[in-house]
């Protein structure tokens, strides 16, 4: 019972944050609602027993990736977005379309999944066992991912660097 209540409360916060992301016009408000979504998702992961994944979600997603987003929004300081013709068309067609899609998939999922339930902490994910999997069965993806991150670091540094890198020669006289 308590499980259901906690799930519904944090699920409601997730959905409210996601909808708020769509509704707000200034990107900083969207970023903050996304942080709220990620925080409540971390609680949902904890309910399923995935403690390591929940904490990593907070540290990496909410604590590093979203900080990056907030930095860029603050640096670029572009302001709220305006309504254009294209965005109105997308609004009129897009919102009902995706709502229809989501209602359809929700109906199918709720009707045809049987009565399988999960209890609190259904799949405990202690760091030791995740590390076992990560460094034995999934070693190759792990190493490839680390190379991917290295490439991303180099790419980000090159792309965001200032274009005028060479200093101008000082004028004489």
């Amino acid at each position: 019972m308590l499980h259901l209540i906690v799930f519904l409360v944090f699920g409601a916060i997730c959905v409210a944050g996601a909808v708020n992301l769509l509704v707000q016009s200034h990107p900083i408000n969207s970023a903050l609602s996304l942080i709220a979504v990620m925080g409540s998702l971390a609680v949902e992961y904890l309910l399923l027993g995935a403690e390591f994944v929940a904490v990593v979600q907070v540290i990496i997603y909410a604590g590093a990736i979203m900080v990056l987003f907030v930095f860029v929004i603050m640096l670029l300081n572009a302001g709220a977005e305006e309504r254009t013709k294209g965005s109105q068309v997308a609004l009129i067609l897009g919102v009902p379309g995706t709502m229809l899609g989501s209602l359809l998939s929700a109906w199918v999922l709720l009707r045809h999944s049987g009565t399988r339930s999960v209890h609190v902490g259904a799949m405990p994910g202690p760091p030791k066992e995740i590390a076992q999997l990560l460094f034995h069965d999934f070693l190759l993806p792990f190493e490839v991912t680390s190379i991917l991150v290295l490439i991303a670091i180099m790419g980000a540094v090159v792309l965001a660097a200032h274009s005028d890198s060479a200093p101008q020669p000082r004028k004489e006289g």
Binding site: F52, A62, G63, A64, V67, V70, F71, M74
Partner: protein, 353 residues
Amino acid sequence: MSKTGVRKLNLETFIIVSVIKIVIAVVVLLTAVAYTVWLERKVVGRIQNRWGPTRVGPFGLLQPLADGVKFLFKEDLTPPHVNRLLYVAAPMIAVIFALTSISVIPIGDWITIGSIHTPLQITDVNVGLLIVLGITSLGVYGVALAGWSSNSKYSLLGGLRASAQMVSYEVSLGLSLIGVLIMAGSFDLREIVNAQSGTFWGFIPRWNIFQGQFVAFFIYLMAAYAETNRIPFDLPEAETELVAGYHTEYSAMKFAMFFMAEYANMITVACLASLLFLGGWHGWLVGPVWLREILPVFWFLLRVFAFLFLYIWVRGTLPRFRYDQLMAFGWKFLLPLAIANLVITALIVALKA
């Protein structure tokens, strides 16, 4: 000191005990924050050959009370054209995350009061160390949003610089702790402390700092100074540089909340250092049974006090880094050193096993 073989508490008792622990922890932490401010003012004053607060109460001990009253009665200005919601929320975010990390920090062993056998910790989770790191990384938002919402150039620059500094040194902070983790084999703070019990040859305690994590301790120390924006890394909030950085436009209670958040972060970092490097609560246990249960708490607080004193001592002694020197130090010196420490520790542990 066991989790098995003892009758577990039922739900109602557990909730009541937890609420009592939370109340005690918050009250003690807030008082500690206030008296850390007093300690800093006294010690820095003595380093600078002056008295520090002496008028309010004996040795100026009631100075934090006077400061609290001052902050409550000061005029709470809100500059025009600020983003109201974020302006009010930023100090609250900073304080909430600064005070939350106390919930996984153990200050002593399991104690038995009457029929209740409970750890001296609000909650004992398997991933306690990661939770503290996560809360530290969330604390960056208080600073960044304060700088952004104040609608002032000094605040924005100070906020961006401070949050870039905090994010950069978080990496070295985390990496310096992995050496300790490899040696203890668990993220659980209680188990890491218990791996440091006992002594070498009868008198050198088995603290992690003596077990080879000496370099890691100093990396942690420097990264902690940078995380909490303290001298020598406090350029983003120094008065002579950016007026006051991200809390320029804040007055009265909101400013006091930033202040409290900074000192609460200091105390959290000091507690973590004592747990991970200085042996936690292990020390001489003498006397009757009730004394043996209280002494570990005393040893732990002594270590935390020593670390805080070191913080304040460094503040009174060193000049501050320039911002580019600060970032270069974090990325080009501290990070490679932390990685080297991690590799060497892992090698030694693997070769021993």
